[in-house]
Amino acid sequence: MSGARETTGPDALAAMFARARRESRAAFLPYFPIGYPTVADSLDAIEALARAGVDGFEIGMPFSDPLADGPTIQAATQIALENGVTVGRCLDAVGELRARGVTQPMLLMGYLNPLLAYGLERFARDARAAGAAGVIVPDLPPEEAGPLAEACAREGLAQIVFLAPTSSPERIALVAQRAQGFIYLVSVTGVTGARDSLPLDLQAFITRVRAATSTPLVLGFGISRPEQVQQVSAWVDGFIVGSALVRAAAAGVEAVRDLALTLRHALDEA
């Protein structure tokens, strides 16, 4: 039994944030989809990211209708589907990455319907067995999350909740109460995708949430550049970069690694 299986997902995430905090920086959590450009390439890219010193992963599982994603991730996950990637294949990939020495916490990110088809209890059981730390489902607000949340709790997996700039104070309080591991803050009203600049009122949004909870906050959507990473590192406990890494993957695994190293160095200099 490896150490990753004995600690729960929330424990592994807490250790990840503690380590980053000791280094006075935010945790860097890249998103990468299994199966893009090929299954083998995606596993190589994630392994290269792990060696580049990222802190954890959002492992993308493809869906035919990804309504929270922008064009970059839509196109990549469409190719993953054409490559035959299923929920089961993604779970196997987590196990393979563990076997290849990836020790960072891995969170499985995917839309609800493929998880329903796989079976929520079976999914939680197999995700834990593979060594995942948690689950992120963007089309599942807390009101609808009951069955998945219960299955995750039984297996010691973190079920990550979201807040958005549109969230009211009441909503922030409600969501914060159910948070495990961290709260995923959506930086913009919109879909995923690299953006030239982050919204001007971003810090105010983060401050509003921070005032309501001590749970770690992880910022996602629109982050792609070293200066953005430096800007948000002081505001949140972690950040996610997705579309920019996926775009880099078109040029090969080295390009993914190089972008990760650039962002990781920017973080140390912040």
């Binding site: 088809a117 969230s167 009203t189």
Partner: protein, 411 residues
Amino acid sequence: MERQTVKIGVGQAEVPDARGYFGEFGGRFVPETLVPALDELTAAYFEAQADPAFQAELAHLQATYSGRPTPISYAARLSDYLGGARIYLKREDLAHTGAHKINNALGQALLARRMGKRRIVAETGAGQHGVASATVCALLGLECHVYMGSVDMARQRPNVFRMKLLGADVIPVDSGSRTLKDAITEAIRDWVTNVETTHYLLGSALGPHPYPLMVRDFQSVIGVEARAQMLEQAGRLPDVCIACVGGGSNAIGLFHAFRDDEDVELIGVEAGGRGVASGQHAARFADPSLGRPGVLHGTRSFVLQDADGQIRETHSISAGLDYASVGPEHAYLRQLERAHYTVATDDEALAAFELLCHLEGIIPALESAHAIAEAVKLAPKLPPDAIVLVNLSGRGDKDLDTVLGALERRP
């Protein structure tokens, strides 16, 4: 706040509940960004429903702009030809813009204006909802953006031109199957991005709560009128009500007024495409190998999907029925066995289309021709004193290219 709820059948719970559930179907499966917008919309909708001024303006525009009430017509020659039940047609094809879609578009656009949202996004399949949205936006001075799959733009060209004439921006969607499903996905992405200024004018009784409830309510004028008209013209209620079901808004609009009339049979007709056995169809209920409960576009209902939960591409000759899911209230009515669902294939719909043209002088929408096809099958089995009411949800001018092509290919 006082909720507007209804009873379905004796002893059944009121639907939907406060979370938007019709039994186990419905709900609100959306990204967090949209939850506050749906809360705001739900509150604004119930306020408007309870406001006599809102209801009066809607009723006034229905009467003076949409052309309501639409009549029911006794289809004498069709009934004689089929040699069984008497067939009546609810003439939504005579509503302004040529389909029932105006009923919901008008209601939601008035609501958007009341909420201070001046930018409207809509999806469209056949183009009828896009035209209705563009029309009401022109009427009320709202900005209108319509997402439409590029496959549908090719097969419903007249409606694309109509929307542009009415001042709408028509945005082609090239992802996925490039039909209605993909247009809805793209409209939701736009809404997530522009949610502060924008109302999503969803055109069918699907999507996250409160849409299935709200669209049903705005469309229920169809059944309310038809029920009174049947009593007046035929002296009694019909034995059977038939409507086609894509998302299911015209069907739920007709069925709703008859829900407590237990002797009235309700039949929804799905698109059988090239036949249920072919796998090329939009028959969510009729093909248990592909149609199972699932979540698409914010609601839990029957969804055409593969074993891995990926949404299937669908096929129908009719763009308006070409969708992988179905409104959650239909899944509920089917589970209760209050309504029954059948299929009509492309060929059966085409034959019914021609029959109605020749015998009644009415060119139906290909969507509505699916409902006619069911009447063609059913009426001869019923006695002459039986009454069948068919919702003729739209007119077929938009389909002439498609029909011409199909007739030329026919052996």
